[in-house]
């Protein structure tokens, strides 16, 4: 059974803290994605990675960075958390580089920044 796991289901941090969200997939997928999900806005792409050490900005990369040192792991970093980054964060992976391939999502991390 294919699996995408995220390090935390719930996370509470303070303004200004550095936050790491980890995502691991066991499907040997080349592509990995980070989205944030907010009511009324759906899923918005923050960053994605085509392969190890490769990254591309999505639609809302400001305030975030990413790291992909190993194929199975994709990390989202909030350098200095702010209250407007309170959201649900979803990680996904996808086989190959075809944009129409199915994405497999993790369960999400609900981040609250106080």
């Amino acid at each position: 059974d294919v699996k995408v796991t995220q390090s935390s289901r719930y996370l509470v941090k303070r303004t200004g803290e550095k936050v790491f969200l980890e995502c691991v997939q066991d499907m040997d997928h080349e592509n990995m994605f980070w989205y944030r999900q907010d009511p009324g806005l759906g899923l918005r792409l923050i960053y994605f990675s085509y392969d190890v050490k490769m990254k591309e900005k999505g639609d809302i990369p400001e305030g975030y960075s990413v790291s992909r040192e190993k194929k199975e792991r994709f990390s989202l970093i909030l350098e200095s958390a702010s209250t407007n980054q309170t959201s649900m964060y979803l990680c996904a992976s996808r086989r190959g580089t075809s944009s129409y391939n199915e994405q497999f999502f993790g369960p999400g991390t609900r981040l609250t920044v106080l």
């Binding site: 759906g42 899923l43 918005r44 792409l45 979803l90 944009s99 129409y100 994405q103």
Partner: protein
């Protein structure tokens, strides 16, 4: 800027057919339309995908008219367990952008 739009919510009753239309005006010939379903406390999961005419699987059907500016997800004979948020996604091959709609909350009542 490519934009994918869908209704915010839809209500239905058990046994009825639910049709959700997604608008994607800037779609190109080879761009695919994919639908995902999301239950509370879970990530979205793939339901169906297509790029022209009609696609059917054991869960749903996807209708795409000739002009491809919209598409309709059809859920036949819904049950209470079909209550979820449904997302339309267009994968644009021109710039490799992924455009999710804001999601449609479908509520099925007994």
């Amino acid at each position: 800027l490519a934009k994918t739009t869908q209704p915010i919510s839809m209500d239905s009753y058990e046994g009825q057919e639910v049709n959700i239309t997604c608008s994607h005006n800037n779609i190109a010939t080879n761009d695919y339309i994919t639908w995902y379903q999301q239950f509370p406390s879970q990530g979205p999961r793939f339901i169906i995908q297509g790029y022209k005419t009609k696609v059917t699987n054991e869960v749903a059907s996807l209708f795409i008219p000739a002009d491809r500016k919209s598409s309709t997800l059809s859920l036949p004979r819904v049950s209470l367990s079909d209550t979820a948020v449904y997302y339309c996604l267009v994968a644009y091959t021109s710039d490799y952008k992924l455009s999710f709609g804001a999601g449609t909350t479908v509520t099925v009542r007994a």
